[in-house]
């Protein structure tokens, strides 16, 4: 998954969780939870969305790798290779 594909996927998922979130303004290395004011339920919903769209199980231990857009791109990009 390219960085722009990642951004689009995350934006689609977040549109249902936090409609007012403007992901285009979030830097790749910024913590999404801070930048978009996501609480733990929001983040779980984001993980749920990523799981449903990619089929990856995403164990809890991997959550820290999903805190940034760059991290998400790396996490799913690695799987596609």
């Amino acid at each position: 998954m390219t960085p722009s594909e990642t951004k689009r996927l995350v934006a689609e998922i977040l549109a249902a969780i936090a409609p007012e979130a403007d992901i285009s303004a979030v830097a790749g290395d910024a913590d999404l939870r801070e930048a978009l004011d996501l609480d733990s339920i929001d983040f779980l919903n984001l993980v749920t969305g990523l799981h449903e769209r990619t089929g990856r199980p995403i164990p809890e231990a991997d959550y820290p790798r999903l805190f940034t857009l760059d991290g998400i791109a790396g996490y799913f990009g690695a799987a596609a290779d």
């Binding site: 939870r33 609480d39 339920i41 779980l44 749920t48 990523l50 799981h51 995403i58 809890e60």
Partner: protein, 383 residues
């Protein structure tokens, strides 16, 4: 026959705007059915009826500003349902512009075709630009009702009229009243929650994300059980005395991203196991943020919990939501050096706080609640 009135959805609410009816005359309703949407400072709230019966007449029209306690509709008790079949007399609305009575002498000229139409249908037809004369009504007495009209554009959950300033004012009113009237006392206890979190980790390791549990669920589970064991803090201060609640109805404080706060109730939270509690939390938070709460959820809480979450502060001294008599605060879970069996270890701990209304209880009772909560969290396998 009873009159269904505009409910009070908070100590600070004086009136609400009727957004739409979800029932029409002749509809059978059961206690708890959502019958209307009302816009308040807390957003658009779904209003439920509190009795079984048949809707006999809708009194208020969508768009009307209706004072708390003013009639919205007439509902006939179940046994009296037969009365509904003949055309009911048009009731005189108390809060909407008076309509011409249906008598023959007063028939207004535009109604030459004698089209019967419900207020809500008239409004939607106007919005959609549809001529009523071309429709065939299926409502009571052949009246055109909402169901006979095409649905408008997808229903908007966030009403255009939702006003963050109004919510700010509502919070200001409730919190000012709290600090003016309630003599708060505060207690605090920091407890080791490592066992509870270990249990969650083990449960979640075997589950896909949609079924996973958050720390909030197990904290709420323990809190609800501790509250059930401490009924003195679970209820309301009314008319100079404490009234105990009939169940543990936990108001769960939800921060709204646009600013503001709302604490809808999870009813009988002490009777819900971990998974149903987690589902209730997810549902409640989503609906609170989508402004799709029900009226009873805003009025029935018997105690409130504020859980600051992973990005919150380490502890909080809560402000009680009147007329409740206690509020429980749950701080951020942090790793701290902790003495366990005589050695210092890194443990995950959380600071629990209680604000109690000193008119209703003394600190001893509040302390019992925190002690019970700590014991439940230490024995997490049983939660």
């Amino acid at each position: 026959m009873t009159v269904f009135r505009m409910p009070s959805l908070g100590a600070d609410m004086e009136s609400g705007t009727l957004v739409e009816w979800l029932v029409r005359p002749g509809d059978r309703v059961k206690r708890g059915d959502v019958v209307a949407v009302v816009e308040t400072a807390k957003g658009a709230i779904e209003i439920e009826v509190f009795q079984d019966g048949v809707v006999r007449a809708l009194i208020a029209e969508p768009g009307a500003v209706v004072p708390v306690g003013a009639p919205l509709a007439e509902i006939a008790a179940e046994g009296a349902a037969a009365e509904v079949a003949p055309a009911p007399p048009t009731p005189q609305p108390a809060v909407t512009p008076p309509k011409a009575p249906a008598g023959p002498t007063a028939a207004p000229p535009p109604q030459a075709g004698r089209v019967r139409v419900t207020p809500a249908a008239r409004r939607r037809a106007a919005a959609l630009g549809i001529a009523l004369e071309r429709l065939r009504g299926t409502g009571v007495d052949g009246a055109i009702c909402l169901a006979d009209l095409p649905s408008p554009a997808p229903p908007k959950r966030v009403p255009a009229g939702f006003d963050p300033a109004a919510m700010r004012a509502a919070i200001a009113a409730a919190m000012s009243r709290s600090k003016r009237e309630i003599p708060h006392y505060y207690l605090s206890e920091t407890v080791d929650v490592s066992a509870a979190l270990d249990r969650l980790t083990r449960i979640n390791a075997e589950r896909d994300p949609p079924a996973r549990l958050l720390p909030a669920a197990i904290l709420l589970r323990a809190a609800a059980l501790a509250i059930a064991a401490t009924p003195e803090v679970n209820g309301w201060w009314e008319d100079g005395r404490f009234r105990a609640a009939d169940g543990v109805h936990v108001g769960w404080a939800v921060a709204l991203r646009g600013g503001g706060l709302i604490a809808p109730a999870i009813r009988d939270a002490d009777r819900l196991a971990l998974d149903p509690l987690m589902a209730a939390l997810r549902d409640l938070v989503q609906r609170a943020r989508g402004f799709a709460l029900r009226g009873s959820e805003l009025t029935s809480a018997s105690i409130t919990i504020t859980n600051l979450g992973e990005r919150g502060a380490a502890s909080v001294l809560p402000v009680i939501h009147p007329p409740q008599v206690a509020m429980l605060g749950i701080g951020r879970i942090v790793v701290r050096p902790w003495v366990v069996d005589g050695t210092v270890q890194p443990r995950q701990v959380v600071t629990l706080t209680l604000a109690g209304d000193h008119r209703a209880t003394d600190g001893h009772v509040g302390g019992l609640l925190l002690t019970r909560l700590a014991a439940l969290l230490a024995d997490a396998e049983r939660l």
